[in-house]
Structures are given as C-alpha cells and as structure tokens.
Symmetry: D3
Subunit: 290 residues, 6 copies
C-alpha cells in the first residue's frame, strides 16, 4: 500500500508507518490534464508534503496535536498523463479499497475532477452522504467544450448521482448563468461569496449525517492563494476558511472523506500557497479524524 | 481560416466587431514614462485582455452577461515613448472622437496621468460632470520635481478645471500634507482609507448627474494587487472594490466614462493582478454600460 | 477605429491578412496534457506572438525582411483539454487542409506530440519526405507508462510511418538505452549532443528532397531556454541553433513544413525563452519560406 | 559633487546626519543563521531602506511628517556569519551604548533572535519595562533541537529575565502545546489570533510604563507579507497592524525601544513586503519617537 | 557611530570619499523613459552598487586590486521622469564638469540614450575621439516613431557628430536594413555577432587615440544577462565580454570615458545580471583607470 | 541508517533500499549558516532529489544505466541551525562511519564548508589522497571576518592537512590576491578560468591514486546555474563540466569520495539549477561508482 511518489515529497509530517493502524489515509492525485486555464496542480501534493515539515504539530485552534490522531500517507497515485478516464478509474479503485478497509480517505489534488471518483465511492458506501463543497466556481457544467470529463463538471456529476439537495456549495463567485439556474431549479444549495456564516446555518441540518468535504483552494481570495490554476478575486480570507473547517470539526456531522485540491505551486514563487494548504490540511486532519 | 485564439487575445473577451453598434469603446493607453517609482504599466492593457479569456461571461453579482451589452475594443493607442505631452494630446483626441460619436470611453492604463485627457474631454462634453476617484494616492500635486506632467498630478488638474467640489476621492492613504490641506481648503471630498461606506453616503447626492469613474488599481491593498508601480499597504480588499463598483452600478448616477489604470504585470509573477483587473473591468462594463 | 496594438498581439508580427495570398500559414497548438513533467506549453504560441512585437523585421543573418515573404497567422486551433486523441485529429485535419491549399504549415506548440499529425500529413503529401529533428530527447518511446499517445513518442511514430532511415535527429542527449539501440539497429540517424556540424554533413545528402523541420526548444541548453517543460543541461547555444536554421535555409532541401514546440512561458520570469522562440521563428520564416 | 541617490539608499529616508542630535537611532541586524526554515532576512534592513525612498514623508494616519522628528540611521551592525553567540554580544553592546547616550533604539532584523539583546539591555535600563510582542509564533521555546540560541526562543528568555507577567504577546497562532501551557501557568499574556482588540484592553493597564515593542512581520497574514521565513496563514491584515501601531502611539505608554524583524526579501518578487515594512517603520518612527 | 553597511550600498565598493583625489568618477543615470519595449533600467545603478558588496576586490584577470586605483562614486543624477530632453541636458552638464576637472566619467545606465551626452561632451574635449560600442542593436535610427530622442538613436547621433568612420560597433545582431546600409555607405565599422576577434584587429589601428567605451549589457546573450529591456538571443558570453574589456585594457588606446547601460533588474529574479554588471564594471575600472 | 529528511525529497531516483549492499551512500548536508552572501543552500539536497524524478536513468555519455550500480540514499543529516562547529562534527562522524563500512561517500550540500569534514575523514583513511576541486572561488582564506569556520576556508584547511601539492583547483576566477599568492608559493595547483583542458593534463599524473572530487556548482557560469549563493560571471558551461566529470570517470584515478555543493534553489525560479545538479549527480554516480 505504498506508492512511489510521482513528483516529490515524502510523507505528510508525523504520518504513521502502519497502514493497518491508521484511521485516515492521505493520498495525492497528481492530475491536471483537463484544466481549461493554467495547469500545474500535479505538483501540489508533493510540495504540500514538503511544506508540512515547517508546520507546528499542535493546533492552538483545536487544542489538539498530530500525535493525538492516526493517519498514514500513501504517497501519490501514479496516473497516466493525458488520460482522464483511466486516471479517474485508478483513483476510484484506490478510494474504494480505503473505504472497504474502514479508512477515511484524505485526498490532495490535482485538479478538481479528481474529487469525483472519491465522492462517488464514498456515496456508494454511505447512501445518506451529503457533500460540503467550498470553491470559487460552481463546477456544475455537464461538459466543457464537448468534453464531459473536465475540471468544470465534478459537482454536477455527483449532484446527479446523490441528488442535488444533498450538495451544499459555499463561497461560489463564478460560473455560467445556466449553472446557477440549474442549482436553483433542482434544489441544490449554493451560498454565493460567503462560507462561514451560511455554513453555520446549514451544519445543524446535517447533524448525524456522513459528509464528504471537498475544498478547492481557489475559494480563497488570490491574495491568500495565488498558486492555483484559476485565480478569481473577491474570495474569502484564510481566517474564514480556517474557521469554516473548525466549524465543521465542532459540528455533529461525521466526516466520511475529504480532500483539498487545485494547489499549483509554480504560480506562487513566495510558496505561501503550499504553506497555507499544508496548514489547512493539518487542521482538516485534526478536526475531521476523531 | 482564422481561429478564435485560445490563450492570447487582442481584444477583451466578447468584444463586438462593429464600432458603430457599440455603446462603449475599450482602449489601452500604454504609457508609463512619468512614474517616479516602478515603471511597467504599459503592458497592463495587453495582459488584461489576455487574462479576460479566462473569465466567465456571467456576473453572479449583477446577474448579467457580457452578451447583454455592446462594446468594441479598439486596441492600444500608439503613444510616443518618453513624450508625455504628445501622448496626452493623442489620448485626448481619441476620447473626443468617441464622445462625439456617442460612445462611453472605457480606458485601460498605463499610468494614472493617462486619465487626465479622458476626464478633461468628458468634462468638456458634460459641464455638470463629477469625478469618482479610487486610489491609494491623492494625485493632487501641481508638479513632481519640477515636472507638471506627472502621474502625481492628474486629480489636481481636473479639480482645477471642473472645480474641486465636483471631485470625490476614496481610499486615499498617501500624499503630502499640502495635498490634503489643499483638498480640505478647496472643498474637495477625500475619504481616507475607506471606499464603500463613504461612497454609499455620497452617491445619493450625485443622483442624475454624469460621472467619470477612475480607478487606480493601487487602491487595493498590495495583497490584492501586487502588480502595480507603487504598492502601499493598508488598502482595501478586492471584495470592497467589487462592492463599490456594484454600488455605483445600482445608483442613480450616469457613468459617462471610466478607466482602470496602473496595472504593471511584471511585478506579479502569480498574475493575480491582471486576472483581478480583468474581472474588475468586466464588472465595470456590466455595471456601467446600460 | 482599430489600432494596431502596441504590446499585445494576436498574430505574429507582420502577418498578412489574406489567407489566400499566403505561402505559409502559422498556427498554434495549445496542448500540453500528455507531458510527464512540467505542463504549461499551451501558453507558448500566445506569448511567442506577443514577444514578436519587440522583434526587428530584418534579419542581418539572412539579409532579408519579413515584407519579403507572405504568411498568414491563423491563430490557435481550439483543442479539447485532456483529450489527446481528439486533439491530434483536429490538428491533422487542419494541416491536411493547409497542404491541400498549397501552403507551408508553420506550427507553434504546445508539447512535442502536436508535431506528429503535422508530420504525418506532410508525409502523406510528400512520399520522399525527410524529417530533420532537433531536440534534447529521443522521443522514440512506443508508449509512456502504458500510454501510446505521449510527448515521448512522436519521432518513433513518424519513423515507423516513413522509415527510420528518413529521420535525422540532432542534439540528442537524453533517452532510454532502448531508444538509442532501436535507432541504431533500424538505420535512423541520431547525432548526439551536437547539431550544426553533423547537420552540415547530412544536408548535402538530402539535396532536392522535401523536409519537415521540427525543433523542440529544449535542444537549447537550459541557460538559453529555461522556459520549457523538461530542462536538460549540456545543450547547444542559441547561436548554434540560429546557425543550424540558416544552414538549412541555404541548403538545397525544400522545407515542406516546420514547427517550434515546447515553449512553456511560466517557468521563465525573465521572458527570454519566448523572446528567443520569437526570433527563431522569424528566422525560420525568412529562411524556409521562399 | 555627491547626489542624493534616486533609487538606492543606504539610510532610511530623511535620516539626520548627526548622531548627537537624534532622539532615535536606526540600526540593522543582518543575521539569519539560527532560523529553522527559510533564511534570507539578513537582506531585510538594506531593502527596507531602499524601499523607503518610495515613501511619502507624511502620515495621514498620525498627521505628522518625518521632518517633525529626529533620528539617525547607523547602518547595519557587522555580524560574524554563523556565530549566533558573538552576534548577540555585538548587538547588545551597541544597544547599551545607544541607551547610555539617551537614544531610543530602533532596530531592523534579521531573524527574531536579534531582538533578545536589545530587549535585555532596555530592561537593564528600565526595571519596570513591559514587552509588547506581535508575532505569529510564541517564540517561547527553551531550545530548538538542542540549541538554546534559536529564533524560537527570544520571548522565553526575556520573559524569564523580567518576569512573564510583564510580557504581552499578540496575534499568536503557532507554537507547541508546551509553550502555550507555560505562558498560561506563568502569568504571561498571550492573545491568540488577534492584535488590535486585545491591545486596546491591555494598553490602559500599562499607562506610564516604558515598553519595548517588537514586531515580527509574520504576524501579518502571508497575503500581506509573503517575504518572510516562516509564512503562517490566518494572520492579521496590514490595516490591523497599522491601527495597532497607532493605538500604541496614542496611548500613555512610553516606547523605550522597538524593532521590526524577519523581513526576507527573496521570497517576495513583488517587493510588497519590503514596501510594507518600510511604511510600518515610518509609522513606528512617527508614532513612537516624540 | 556609523557602520559600513553589510548588505546595502550607496556607493560602488571601495569608492573613495574625496572627489578631488579621484581619477575617475562613477555616476548613475536612472532614466528609462524612451525605451520602446520593457522599461526598468532606472533601477540598474542602485542594484549594481548593492551587488558590488559581494565582489572580491582583486581581479585575477588583470592582477590588480581596487585599492590600486582612485575613484569616487557621485551617486545617481536626479533626472525629471518622462522628460528626455531635460534629462540629457543634466547628464551633459555633469559630464562636462567632470571632464573639466580632469576626471574620467564612468557612467551606469539607465537606457542607452543616456550615453549620448556623455559621448558628446567627451568628443568636445577630445577632437580625435573614437567610440567603441558593444551592443546587440545598431542604435542608428534617426528617430523612433517620430521621436528623435529615443534609445534607438544615440550611436547615429554621435556618429554624425564625430564622423561615422570614428565609430566602431561590435556584437551587433539586430537593426533595420536601413541602419546597416547607412553604416556601410558612410564608412562606419560594424562587426556583426562577434566582439573579441574583430576588436583585436581594430585596436592596433586606434593606438594612441582617446576612446569612449560604451557597453549595452544586451550585447551579452540573454542567457548571460536576462535582466535587460530587450533580450536578443545569439549573443556573446560573459567570458567573451570580459576578455574584450581586458583586450582594451592591454591595448594602446587611452580610455577617456566609459559606461555600462541597460541593466533592468526586475526581469531577472536570480539577480545574475546585476552581479555580472557589477563584476564587469570592476574590470572596467581596473582596466581603464590607470 | 535512515535519517528523517529535513526539507523535502525522498531519495535520489533508483536509490537502493539496502544500506548493506550499496557501494556508495548519498547524504544531504542542509547547512548554509556561514555564507557571507546569499543563504538558501540548505534546500539544495531535497530539491535535487525531487528533480531527479524527471531524469532518464540512462547516460548516453557513459552508456551506462543507474541499474548498473548500487547506491543508497540516506537522506539529510539533521544539523543544528546556526552552529557550524557542531554541524561539522556531525558530518565528520557520519562520513567516518561510511568509510569504515567501505562505502563511497556521495554528499550533497549545503554550503561548501560541509565538504571539509568529508575531505578530512577521507584523507584520514587514504594517506595518499588528492583533492580535485572545481569552483569559481579559491576558498583559501584562513578566516572570514574573524571566523575560522566559514564557507571561504575549506580548501585552505584541507590543503594544510594533506599538503598543498595534493590539492588541484580548477575553474577559479575569484579570490583575494593573498589566496592566489599562497597557493603559488606553497605548490598548490590552481587552474584559472578553465577546467577541462588543465584537468586533462593533470589526471595522468594522478593515475592509481585515490581522489576526492568536490564540485561547487558556481564553477558553472551563472547562465548555467543561477541558483547558487554567489554567482560569478565568466564561468564554464554545463557541457564543459559534464565533460570534466566524464574525463575523471575515464581516467585511472580512483574516486574515494565526492560531493556537489552550493545549490540554492530559491534564486532560480526556472528550476534549471536543481535539474542541472540532478543530472550532474547522476553522471557522477555513473562515472565514479564502479
């Protein structure tokens, strides 16, 4: 169960060495071939791991240490360059195995399309699954210039599988008119622009249910995450995103799987984006893995 | 046999091809030769156009699409390098022609001095014109180290032409003591540090009047717009600037002309500044061109 | 009312406006989805065009001006992100049309795999075609981690189509042992490390024949072209590459098609790579289009 | 025959030329050898001085000009590379001299450890000294991987010297559990995450007392200060930091010494961090030197 | 109480402090307003001085130390932004004063137009002056898009003043056909592409004469000097440029003045260009100032 | 024998997993605290490993594959930040162990001072050891501003231990006059500027002897290795350095240990330096480990 990493990095800091004892399993999905604008997120997982070495192991937000939880970093799944269909199958197969072994899948992208098979497999295990989606973009297209497998489509596809009313999007500030219309007409929740306040309202209604949390780093304002494929101004701060993660952690939902995607290091020579992603991932681990 | 390019653009996205049918005309002013600190804004208009290809055509803020309005991108006005006087004459002549043809001038800089002839020509057509100016700097000098044609002087010059009480500056956080004194003593409005709240108070008093909106990208905090000549911390967020544009769009003023200036791409390897400028310009088009 | 833009270009400098009158047709192929290392070459064609605005129109090497030849820039072919198979078909179809109209195809990549359909179509028209290939890499794999459509395979595929003895590679300094062995055993020419001297020996043997010239910018040493996906030290200088282009221009071969690929602007903040690519392309136009 | 340089500076703008007449003395401490993550802050003081040339001399926040106060920039203290112990002694000796001459020491780092001797000497002169510390990190370790002289330890060491109840930390968001525990158990004040609001509460309790203000630039969110060794998301804005400086300036404490540390220019190609540091330092001078 | 700074410099390393005793005087000309492509060279002189701090004081090429010669760094001449005419007058006046005081002017640009007044004044003093010019570009235009004061014109203007047969250009690889024609028809020497070998042939013919040496950093290949306004591939190496400077130093000409121009730091985040310029300038000082 | 890596990276490509079976052992020395100019080489080893993933496993220069040799990557030695003395002891102890186990030490720096203990231990084992040193700098100082443990001193110290006539430096182009004098007076070999040709002359005289090869990446011209602490123009090309490594590989010396130092990734956003270092290290492994 140990992949040879594709681009760099060893393991996320304090990763355990025994797959069997882990409650959560970290894995990278170095795929960026369906993006319509700037590629480069394939190097995200490796650099997030590299940056994790600079992290403190303790969270003053959650008053919890990485030693308090058990996780295993499995490395990056080797994916065939330029073949989206086969890549998604490989990711799906791996996540299915994790779920079957009772692990919480904890993915790092890669473009947002990699979240689709993880969400699909999690939904297959948990029929009452809800999706909490934080993003600048709706990702509700049915295709992008003729291609159904595109980074603009994963939320639409999972919504069609589990029912749009089970999908909750936050922070959205870009999309086609048709996408917003489709969401409204089909009972899917979209909070435009904001994350924390609407999340506080929604979470109690999901109490007791399993949720999959998928965060596209571009939900952050470009000031806070310039290293991503499609920067879009008017986003939230890293403080609001941290607080939103903590809000979920303290709520009564049960996180059945999660991921953080679209970190593209090359566009950020200051490396603040990978450092931020690394801290966000630490908080997700500490908050979501009980 | 001519493709719509995928990644390089010579016009702002969705620009019409018929000057005659356009309500607004976009034009670039690639001049940066009077700046006292970092030059480079001559490349602003070209890169803003390039970035516009990555934009959605729909604004979830204004619930409006680019197809709903009519504009024409005329390209960059060729300006003689290092000759400020002649450059301003060329810009003035072009804007006069646009106004005479009933178009709304929609300029992209270049340094802030390029706004001067556009404001002057618009004021010549509309005697009751008011200026809405968003900027980190007062730009109220009479000269800069002996040069009357400097990027530190345009607001002073237009204020002297149309009367200081018709000029409203927002977000100002840098200037000489003498500039602030002059404004106060001559009845010109300056809102220090903030934009949105004071704008909400001023706009009703301008109801029914024509206004020219000039935005220096450095009104944004450097976190949100590092790619500009003179970064100055303590600025507003891109959310506040977007909201301010929308506030004008929904008010009862009539926008007779507008511009966005001082985008200098070379200082921002992440390209967030040109992407942000591109989205701001989309919102200005959708909000100001009825 | 439309200016020739000053700093952003949608066509290569001095491109004609009439497809019918052109002897050569420039086109971009913004595809980078099969690369195994750093993607980003999709932005190559657009930035090469932008940089061309800074070029002189005269070549002191060839004593020839761009006004002396006739070419038309058709823009970038729209390609479906992440779908290599369909992309190659679209490129092939376009090049077939050009050849059928009697034009010389002059392509800009994109990753090296985009050269494959262009070479294939040119070979279909000219049965005695030879390939002149300058590159750091053999590109002779039959597949890359299971994928037959990969940027590591185009030279192998064209060699199998037209016969390995009709393919001449220069400057090669990286590849698998099996690739070098295959070339040697099958009569394909490989000049390791050098370009100019071996080219001088080969060209007379090709006199009178049609050739397709494909240049991967990474044949240059990283010092001369850092902005590419896979940098590989020990390469040639830009002087040697210019001289090699001029050597072909002055020889008795007939250039039936050519391309320049793998320019990935994001990895070179100095922009020297796009400027260099732009000058190389000018020299190819002036030298290859009679 | 000596010009005031236009774009390179060896002193902070408007520095006086007579040490004797100065109320405050600026000095750089170009040391970065004990940092555990990214070094580079040795170049901070030089680049902050360079950036100061682009500053206005007037503060619209404090309505005060640099001509209103008297300070002298003494340059950078030459420190022996890689020898922390000797470096601290040299800094301590210099600050002792300044205090003995009745000057306010105004230091620029360099890593945070350089603040230690300055704080120690100031405490030696003022027995009732309080420390106001703004930082992302606790800096309360007793050692770092065996080294007692580390950039993770200065606050612990000064707290042990003057008593933990005289140390007030603000904006803290990273540290070991043990550090937070030690602070709580020993009566040291730590405000997590925020600066301005808790500072407003604390300042009245310090009225009349001498304080040393030490600001680590990483108290700012990475969006506002990417150019530092250890970026840590979830920080405060530059507006909040400016307001905090002004709050101290307007309070009844007496600033006996201050510094700004951890500016590492190489990680910020946009140069916003040095520009921000330069403006912050101007406000500290205008606000703290009466 | 004033330290020799460690990392920021306002004078070139080892500059003397007494103008009167100096044989050569260094001065910066921070002007970049007539360039047609990328501005930014105004920051060249400041950063060359900063980089000089990292230089060794001894040249193993010339076996000479900076202590062996006497020079004085006068700082940057303050020039009015965007006003080329006035700037040239100020430079000319300063150089005239230097020559009148018996000093060798040693200028740092700034764009190449700044060399014009220095060459003109030197020619006024030495009627038999020859110009040695190293550059990628001819700089022989009479105007640029209507502007006679342009960075494309200085060599033409000095050639017209002192006679084209007294001007020797080396390394030229870009220009208009008309410029090369004019040079050939008027007896001006142009060595295309190369510097060292043709220089070796020319130097003996200039024995005993005063020469002004003007070096545009872009004579170097972009690999060796990416930080300049107009990069142009196919240039010489830094080894060839160093050897060329040494060739002049060892020849029988007398250097009456010299400069190094067009260093634009912002385009080179690696800072190799300013470091290279700094070493080149050291060798020019050691070789040309006897 | 497996260290937790300090900064990133896993292992150099194709590293074996069994220390016992390895002929050579790779180890990183992430120390940069005594450098006098730009620090950052502590991140060198991690990024060289990361870049190694993009390498081909076959060398067309040596016709050899990584599978043909046996080596083990032990990770980075954890070193105490800012404590040079202790760091050198830790390195020395590790290398002594390797030599005692019959391994060839293959180090990656880090600053050049880290080579000292490795050379010292190798000399302790092989009394007839010769040093082959490629560098831009002499590194022959006895101290740097009072510090005997400095990156400017390692060659002097090893020369004093094993006798200057056993030390051969190549490519040197910077140093104090005293350093060159000392070398000449004490019988140490220094080849100024060049590497390959003098190496060809020296190698036969060393036939049969054990040698330690230490390469400072700055022996390359900055064009070929901008990512290093002290760039110095006039250096050799990567082709010459590759050929020099191959020359040693084919000679009759026996390489008893080797290292590659001073790679500082942050100064090279194009990442060409780490890619080049990675290929150089592959060639050293293939050429030196028999």
């Amino acid at each position: 169960m140990r992949f040879e990493e594709a681009y760099s990095g060893n393991v996320f800091i304090k990763s355990g060495t025994d797959y069997g004892k882990a409650d959560a399993v970290i894995y990278g999905m170095p795929m960026d071939w369906t993006v319509s604008w700037r590629p480069g997120s394939r190097f995200g997982p490796g650099r997030i791991r590299e940056a994790s070495i600079g992290l403190e192991e303790y969270s003053p937000y959650l008053d919890r240490e990485l030693d308090d939880i058990r996780y295993f970093d499995a490395g990056d799944i080797p994916l065939p360059f330029g073949n989206a269909e086969k890549s998604l199958k490989l990711i799906g197969g791996f996540v299915r195995q994790l779920l079957s072994d009772g692990k919480i899948p904890a993915g790092m992208g890669g473009e947002h399309l990699v979240s689709l098979p993880a969400m699909q497999e999690t939904a297959a295990k948990y029929p009452d699954l809800a999706i909490i989606h934080m993003d600048a973009h709706t990702d509700l297209r049915t295709e992008y210039e003729g291609e159904p497998l595109s980074h603009s489509t994963p939320i639409r596809k999972i919504a069609e599988q589990i029912g749009p009313h089970n999908v909750y999007s936050f922070g959205i500030r870009s999309g086609m008119k048709e996408e917003f219309d489709w969401a409204r007409e089909n009972g899917m929740h979209i909070s435009k622009f904001d994350v924390l306040e609407p999340l506080k309202e929604i979470l109690p209604t999901l109490a007791g249910r399993p949720v999959y949390v998928t965060i596209d780093i571009d939900v952050l304002d470009p000031a806070h995450a310039p290293g991503t494929g499609t920067v879009d101004c008017g986003g939230i701060t890293s403080r609001e995103l941290l607080a939103s993660i903590h809000e979920i952690a303290r709520s009564d939902v049960r996180v059945a799987g999660f991921d953080l995607v679209e970190v593209a290091p090359v566009f950020d020579p200051s490396e603040q984006t990978v450092n931020t992603a690394s801290k966000l991932f630490r908080e997700m681990l500490l908050g979501f893995v009980k």
